[in-house]
Structure formats: structure tokens, C-alpha cells
Chain length 241, copies 2
């Protein structure tokens, strides 16, 4: 039985909306909320009244400084965002996301951005897939709690439709192992001035992250890649002391 | 092609909630709202701001004195309510309701009751079916706009045109490009004695190939990886001659 996904609110602005999101979650049995750097701090006195009884979720919500830390233990990360031209990640709807979470063997996370701006590119680059609710192209106006409730509803609906995973393949490695690999590659490339000139560094790092995130490598594959990097940065084997 | 269902708000209490319901509807392409005896009269100045741009729906909403009049032209009527012991009508979920509306040949209506009390027995008796959103039995706390948005979402989802969005992701690179990448990595690793001892060389090469093949990298991603390898095997940029 798959674990329920963590609902990750990234830099939420209003405490009231955090409370409404908690209420939306609990209606469909989701109880694990994670908060990344809420604008007005945490706890927030406006959240409780809006939760309308879902206080336990707020009380147990985990607080993180960065999105990367919030998803460090997750094998599947979905970024909710509107679809853009040139998306290079797979784009799924709430139903497909729920199915994918059901068959994954580990913790999943669904990221929701700040009310006004949504997730930024750095947040999205942490995710393997983009989750988009297919809405009226002439009137897209889903608020945070509504986006959460549609995802929670599909999660609930997908129960009982659980299909066994189709493959014996290992699950993707936890995000923390992937971060280790990315950091290792960044360190080696920085030493070779790969990220110069400075003004292109951020884009280059994002590209690197996307290339290393897209494979969904499992634990063993990440370990192999780490071994490859270590081999390349050291003197030839047998010539080491 | 089936007509879209009318969303019928029966004796709604707050203008704000009428506006929120309109906004929820329009996100999924529903535009026909009917109002039965709104508590605070109609029009209501609180509705517009909450509609967040879905004003047209409010402007075109039709007003009725009784629920019976509001559904007089409808061939299928669904009453949203929690399921009770002894229901004598068929009970369906939002998905089944949407399918039934799709195949019906005439106008359908979905009834939503007042915020606090829900539909009364007389309203429910007008309906052929009961529509229940399957929620957490220990925490049922859907508000009016949330109930509307889940029904609207299912209506939208049931439209044949609404397909899960496809990604703009590029197809995997041609095998020849992948082979070029693998050969490049093998050459660099061989120089570091990665494939020694000899009897393990074949297995190591197979592992390397699997790790680099599994991502299904596209042309641009393979090129990025080639660039990374070239960077790592050469002196730092800016120090080359």
C-alpha cells in the first residue's frame, strides 16, 4: 500500500490559505502537510480558524527552510504549475499523478507555490513531473485550496483502483541521494569553470539539475554515477597512494 | 453533444459563496447558474468580488422562487447531499453523475443546498439521483464552492476532448548520439582504470551503459552530458590555449 503524498506548500502567503488547504486535505484523508518558509512565519494564528476542524494537520505540519529540504526523503516529486511552452518534464493531470503515487514505493510530494506567483523555476527543477489541472483555457483561476482539494480528491478516488506496479525495477532514489550527486557534479564542474560567466551560472546549474533529475535513477544507479564522478576526479586507480 | 448541466444553488446564504461558486464553475467551463430564493436577495454586491472575474456567470444567473421551477426544464436532476440511511434513490459520485449527464439528451441540473443545512427533504425529492462526494467519514467539511468545483471538474474531465495534457518533452535522442556519449564516458573512465580488473570490465561497461540508457535523454540532454564530459577531461576553461 502506497504512502499518502506529502502536500508541500512553498512560501505560502496567507495563514488563512494554509488552514483552508489543511481542511481540503482532510476531507480526502490526506494528513501530511509540509511548509517551506511561510511568509508570515509559523505557527500563524489565522490558519486555525480557516482549517475548520483540521487543526491536527496544522499542529503536525513540518516546517522547512528550503524546498529541497522539504522533499529530501521523497522518491516522486510533482510540481503543480500551469503548463508552459517548452516544458521538458513529463506533464500529468491529477488522476495520473494519483495513480503514479499509488504505485510508487516510498514517500511522494506534491508542491504548491505561493498564492500570487506560483512555483518558481528553481522549485520546479526539483520535481520529476509537472502536475497541471486541465482548466478552462480562457479562465484559469484556481486558488490554492482548490488546487489542493482536486489533488486530494483524485488521491482518494484512486484508492481501490490500485494496480500492482508493472515492473520489478527499483524505485527512484530518495531526493537526498540525488542532491548528493548533483552537488558532486557541480563541485567538479565549478573547478573547471563550467559555470562561467557568472551571469549564466544559474541557468547552467538548472540545466545540470534537470538532466540529472529526469532519469529517475534508483539507489544503485545514483551510486554508480557517484563512483564514476569519483573516478574521474581522482588519479587513475592503481596509481593512487 | 450533451448540454452542460445547470448549477442550481438552493437558498444560498452568503453572496460571497455565490461568487466563489461562479468562479469554481468557470474554471471548468460551466456557465449556467440558477439561484433559488437567495437569502439576501439578488443581485448581491458581495458576489462579484468573490467571483474573481467570473462576473458573466453572475450577470446571466437565472432567479427562481422555488426549486421545482428551477428544474422544470431538466431531464436529469441530481441532489448533492450526504448519503443517509434509507435513501431510496440511486446514489452516485461526481464521476458517475458527469457520465450520466454526458449521455442524457436534454438539460440536467445539479442541486446544492444552503451552506449550513444542505438540501431539505423536499428539494431532494425533486431529484432522480443523489450525488455524494465520497469524503473522509471522520471529517466531512466540504464547503459550497468546493462541492461545486469537484462536480465541475468531473464534468470537464468527462469531456472527450479533455485529455491529460501531453508534454512538450523532446523524444529520446537517436541511438547513435547515445552511443557517442557512452563511448566518450568509457574512454575517460578507461584512462582512469575504471574497468580494471579485466574480468570485471564487461559487467562494469554494461552497468555504465544501463545507467546512461535508462534516462531516455533527448538530443539536448545528450549534448549537455557531452559538454560536461568534455569539461571534466580538459583543463579549466579560460586556462586553455
Amino acid at each position: 500500500m502506497a504512502e499518502q503524498p506529502a502536500i508541500v506548500l512553498v512560501r505560502p502567503q496567507l495563514g488563512e490559505n494554509i488552514g483552508k488547504a489543511a481542511r481540503a486535505m482532510l476531507n480526502f484523508g490526506l494528513t501530511e502537510m509540509r511548509l517551506v518558509a511561510p511568509r508570515d512565519g509559523w505557527p500563524n494564528p489565522s490558519a486555525g480558524p480557516a482549517a475548520a476542524g483540521a487543526d491536527r494537520i496544522l499542529a503536525e505540519a513540518k516546517l522547512f527552510d528550503t524546498t529541497a529540504e522539504a522533499v529530501a526523503d521523497c522518491v516522486e516529486v510533482f510540481a503543480t504549475t500551469v503548463r508552459k511552452r517548452g516544458d521538458t518534464k513529463p506533464v500529468v493531470g491529477p488522476e495520473e499523478a494519483a495513480s503514479a503515487i499509488r504505485v510508487s514505493s516510498g514517500k511522494s510530494a506534491i508542491l504548491f507555490g505561493p498564492e500570487r506567483s506560483g512555483l518558481d523555476a528553481a522549485d520546479v527543477s526539483l520535481a520529476r513531473s509537472i502536475l497541471t489541472v486541465p482548466i478552462n483555457p480562457e479562465f484559469g483561476s484556481l486558488n490554492l485550496a482548490q488546487a489542493v482539494i482536486l489533488c486530494a480528491y483524485e488521491w482518494s478516488r484512486s484508492e481501490g483502483m490500485v494496480q500492482p506496479p508493472k515492473t520489478d525495477a527499483l524505485p527512484p532514489a530518495p531526493q537526498s541521494e540525488l542532491e548528493g550527486l548533483i552537488a558532486h557534479a557541480e563541485r567538479m564542474l565549478a573547478a573547471k569553470n563550467y559555470f562561467l560567466p557568472e551571469e549564466r551560472a544559474e541557468a547552467s546549474k538548472r540545466t545540470l539539475r534537470n538532466v540529472l533529475t529526469s532519469p529517475g535513477w534508483n539507489h544503485l544507479e545514483v551510486r554508480t554515477m557517484r563512483g564514476i564522478l569519483s573516478t574521474l576526479e581522482n588519479p587513475p586507480r592503481g596509481e593512487r597512494r
